[in-house]
């Protein structure tokens, strides 16, 4: 409260107490003179009555405080806000539905409406997985707002300057790096090259984990840094750098591993992960080297590579490497030698799925390799299967685990899936409830897509 001229003196006397402090003499101004006319039998009463007069006068006559320094306004946003029809869903969405909304918003070239930015930023505080999808649709307004909402890492679409980077926590640095990996990969690589060596080991681990999670072919330019990280002080960082290099088909590490494939005399190199005897080293090569590099070093193609692995009783290592790298051609070549469900699913996910649906026994591994969202026809078949198995279920654990797992993947159902007929009215309450959630979620997804598409 702004205090009038006599109020500070009155307050001092009140704090000390009228038993020990005399009443202050009222000032010559108008309120002071008015206060002077207020007297009571008791000094304490006089003080309170004068204070009532002066505080009321101060409140009633209050002027604004001095102007505050004006904030730098948010830059103009080139992208429009998401259409109001689509935005109306936002207050009701959570989890995967919110992810889907954010992705659709990005796909349609829109940004999140300003009205909902604070809540979205608040949600991203609790849910890390929201940060990158949200960063894509923050727009200039959202990035401008982010630091005020406790998200300095979401304020950037480019590599920040040194003081800004230094002021961020490890978690914020990780977030910023992941956001830039998505929005501006060149800036992310520049950031990594600039700061990697001076980061603490925990932070170096996070930065490399982000590279591993979002690796693409352009990351070959990071090879010198990654090669250097093979000699890092932290064994965890070494391992991560090795994993990244193994996932880059044309990396020097893969070339060295491929060289060891046909040269049993290659000396051990713990830096490259090659240790133990020749058999162990060969097993490591087959399990970890990128199949493209192995095939490049094997002119006679997959059959020769498979023969080599079989001759050394290392077919399992080759299969493991094929599955890790999700290498479909090699999986197809391996299938006659090892017709495992996992290889079959990787080799031909569509056929595996169709066959599973036909037999009412879908291969969940095949679904993992299937492009998402699943086609409307596949989705309809899966939905029908789920409904059939759900029909008599009256508590969660009565539904076998495989169907519950399939139900967990229902986010991959195509939103335009034609739903089967409703469950019969006598179906148990639990079945009705699960079915209702499933179909109403599909309805919502369909409506959101429609709102983005039809109401630009």
């Amino acid at each position: 409260m702004t205090m009038g001229s006599d109020l500070p003196a009155l307050l001092s006397a009140a704090l000390i107490g009228t038993e020990r402090a005399p009443l202050p003499t009222p000032g010559p101004d108008t309120t002071g003179q008015a206060a002077a006319r207020v007297t009571r039998d008791d000094p304490a009463g006089t003080l309170l009555a004068r204070a009532a007069l002066l505080t009321l006068a101060a409140t009633a006559g209050r002027q604004p405080d001095p102007p505050a320094p004006a904030p730098i306004p948010a830059p103009t946003d080139p992208r429009p806000e998401a259409p109001a029809r689509a935005a109306r869903h936002l207050p009701h969405l959570g989890g995967p539905l919110l992810h889907e909304w954010l992705t659709l918003c990005h796909t349609h070239g829109s940004r999140a409406p300003a009205l909902y930015l604070p809540r979205l930023l608040s949600l991203a505080t609790q849910d890390r997985s929201l940060r990158v999808p949200l960063a894509r649709v923050l727009g200039e307004r959202g990035r401008w707002l982010a630091p005020h909402a406790g998200h300095p890492a979401l304020a950037h679409a480019d590599a920040p300057d040194e003081p800004t980077w230094a002021a961020l926590s490890d978690t914020d640095r990780d977030t910023l790096h992941r956001v830039l990996r998505d929005l501006n990969p060149d800036a992310a690589r520049y950031l990594l090259r600039t700061h990697f060596d001076t980061e603490r080991a925990a932070s170096r681990k996070r930065l490399l984990s982000a590279v591993l999670d979002t690796l693409n072919d352009d990351d070959h330019t990071l090879e010198p840094l990654l090669e250097g990280a093979l000699d890092d002080r932290s064994p965890d960082v070494q391992t991560l750098a090795r994993q990244v290099l193994q996932r880059l088909p044309r990396s020097a590490l893969n070339a060295r591993l491929a060289e060891a494939l046909h040269d049993p005399g290659t000396p051990p190199s713990p830096r490259d992960g090659l240790s133990g005897g020749p058999q162990a080293r060969l097993g490591h090569v087959l399990r970890h080297a990128h199949p493209d590099a192995l095939l490049h070093a094997t002119p006679d193609g997959p059959p020769a590579l498979i023969t080599l692995a079989r001759d050394h009783h290392l077919l399992d290592d080759l299969i493991a490497g094929t599955l890790t790298h999700r290498h479909q051609p090699l999986a197809q070549a391996l299938l006659p030698h090892a017709p495992t469900p996992a290889l079959r699913a990787l080799a031909d996910p569509h056929r595996t799925l169709q066959s599973g649906l036909h037999d009412r026994d879908p291969d969940l591994a095949a679904l993992a390799h299937h492009p998402t969202p699943w086609t409307p026809d596949d989705s309809h078949a899966i939905l029908t299967l789920l409904q059939d198995t759900l029909r008599h279920v009256d508590h969660p654990y009565q539904w076998p685990q495989r169907w519950r797992t399939l139900h967990d993947h229902a986010w991959h159902l195509h939103p335009d899936t034609r739903p089967p007929a409703p469950l019969p009215p006598d179906a148990p309450h639990h079945a009705q409830s699960v079915w209702h959630d499933l179909t109403s979620t599909l309805d919502t997804r369909r409506q959101i897509r429609h709102d983005f598409k039809e109401h630009p």
């Binding site: 409260m1 205090m3 109020l7 009155l10 307050l11 009140a14 704090l15 000390i16 107490g17 009228t18 038993e19 020990r20 402090a21 008791d42 000094p43 304490a44 009463g45 003080l47 309170l48 009555a49 204070a51 009532a52 505080t55 009321l56 409140t59 009633a60 006559g61 209050r62 002027q63 604004p64 405080d65 001095p66 102007p67 505050a68 320094p69 004006a70 904030p71 730098i72 306004p73 948010a74 936002l90 207050p91 009701h92 969405l93 959570g94 919110l98 300003a114 009205l115 909902y116 930015l117 604070p118 809540r119 930023l121 949600l123 307004r141 959202g142 401008w144 707002l145 005020h148 909402a149």
Partner: protein, 450 residues
């Protein structure tokens, strides 16, 4: 009229009785529940072998009246309050059996007491039954008794305040909380709950000496105004009574007439105090800003809110007072076409309007305004307040983090408009202006859909 749960619990002699009544207000503990045209009765299974016989008479000028066979010395007892609550929440559990003798005799006695001694023809309806109407003499006696209690309570409060200032406010923070609670309880007993509420708020302002002195001075003003109330005008007396917590006579307010028109809802705020949750809904029409108050006891829901930022057609009647701020809703409010937004005021305009209102009613706590164009300023440093500012100055901006950030997001650092409540210290934002409409900020706050 059947009181809603909130007024029912305000009849409780203390918080413990209110809490016990709420617990008892389930049909399971009542083997008998019956309702007549103006009375309720029931048997409540207590700790003894015999259930207590409880009755409530809802007729007569002193309604509701209570009778219970329990040994409690509290009045009304928890059983009587629970019976009223039950009738409100579970009317379908009430039968219509005639009341047993003890209740019947009590009801007859009350009816005889309230019957006019010599009925004139005008007091008798065609069926020959006597209408029950207020007895002016009894009302005057009750009013005098209450005013005497209030006078005694405020005298004691003045002595307490003088003692505080005599000893020095620097010592006040060292006082135990029970000092404030005891003083507040005495004011409740003295039927001055408004003054009690202000006393309960003292601990909040203890860390701020200037605010503490202002708060105590405000209380002191109440203690000085009450003995001089006869020198005040009728609206000023109404303001004084409202500040002391005298209940508003809703029927008389409605009967005095109101305005049936389209109102724009500027927003609402909800505050929780010790025994009650209060929702303030601000509406605007023409040059009038009206305040509707809703109350709920802890654990009870508030009535459904009017749509913040929307418009309704409603008849609102102003409560008596020098500043026609508090209103009473007469009947139902129905959604209507959007009403135009009021012309926004600058910060100086807001302070002028607030000051003008305060000069008429010194106990006025808040005013609401459509503000703009102003810019929202986030704190430059940790610990600084948020501010709303224009070229001439700024005011502290309160409210929730989400509300402030939403304003900031919508404004983007540019001037904007919003509705806000001003309490003399801080602006609490209610709705953000956007494209000629108001977006409620509290709905974003409470939305649990995410």
């Amino acid at each position: 009229m059947t009181p809603t749960p909130d007024p029912i619990l305000t009849l409780a002699p203390d918080a413990g009785s209110a809490a016990s009544a709420r617990k008892l207000a389930t049909p399971t503990g009542w083997p008998d529940l019956h309702a007549g045209p103006t009375h309720l009765w029931g048997h409540c299974q207590g700790s003894g072998a015999q259930p207590y016989l409880t009755g409530v008479d809802r007729s007569g000028p002193d309604a509701p009246a209570f009778k219970c066979s329990c040994p409690s010395r509290k009045f009304p007892c928890k059983h009587a309050l629970a019976l009223l609550l039950l009738h409100e929440s579970h009317p379908q559990h009430f039968g219509c059996d005639p009341a047993p003798d003890p209740i019947r005799k009590w009801l007859d006695g009350r009816a005889a007491k309230h019957a006019p001694s010599d009925s004139s023809p005008a007091d008798t309806d065609p069926a020959g039954e006597t209408r029950s109407g207020p007895d002016p003499a009894a009302q005057a006696r009750r009013r005098a008794a209450r005013e005497k209690k209030v006078s005694l309570g405020l005298d004691a409060l003045q002595t307490f305040l003088n003692d505080l200032v005599r000893d020095g406010l620097a010592q006040a923070a060292a006082r135990p909380y029970s000092d404030w609670d005891t003083q507040a309880a005495r004011l409740v007993d003295a039927q001055a709950p408004g003054a009690a509420r202000l006393v309960r708020m003292i601990p909040e302002v203890l860390p701020h000496p200037d605010r503490l002195l202002a708060h105590l001075a405000r209380l002191h003003l109440l203690t000085e105004a009450w003995p001089r109330r006869d020198t005040l005008t009728a609206p000023q007396q109404a303001d004084l009574r409202a500040a002391l917590g005298f209940p508003l006579d809703r029927a008389a307010t409605v009967a005095a007439g109101g305005t049936d028109t389209r109102w724009l809802i500027l927003g609402h705020t909800v505050s929780d105090e010790e025994h009650v949750r209060t929702r303030r809904t601000w509406l605007h029409e023409g040059g009038t800003t009206a305040l509707l108050l809703d109350f709920a006891a802890p654990g009870w829901p508030l009535p459904p809110p009017l749509p913040a930022g929307g418009s309704v057609r409603a008849r609102l009647s102003p409560a008596p007072g020098a500043v026609p701020q508090r209103h009473v809703l007469d009947g139902e409010a129905t959604r209507s076409a959007p009403a135009p937004l009021p012309v926004p005021v600058t910060l100086e305009g807001l302070l002028d309007a607030h000051g003008a209102a305060l000069s008429l009613n010194p106990w006025l706590e808040r005013t609401a305004h459509h503000l703009g164009p102003v810019t929202v300023h986030p704190p430059a440093r940790d610990g600084d307040p948020w501010r709303a500012g224009d070229a001439r100055g700024s005011l502290p901006l309160g409210g929730s983090d989400t509300a402030r950030l939403t304003l900031l997001a919508l404004g983007g650092g540019h001037p904007q408009t919003f509705t806000a409540e001003w309490d003399g210290q801080t602006l609490t934002p209610l709705c953000a202006g956007q494209d000629g409409t108001l977006n409620p900020l509290d709905e974003l706050e409470h939305d649990d859909g995410f």
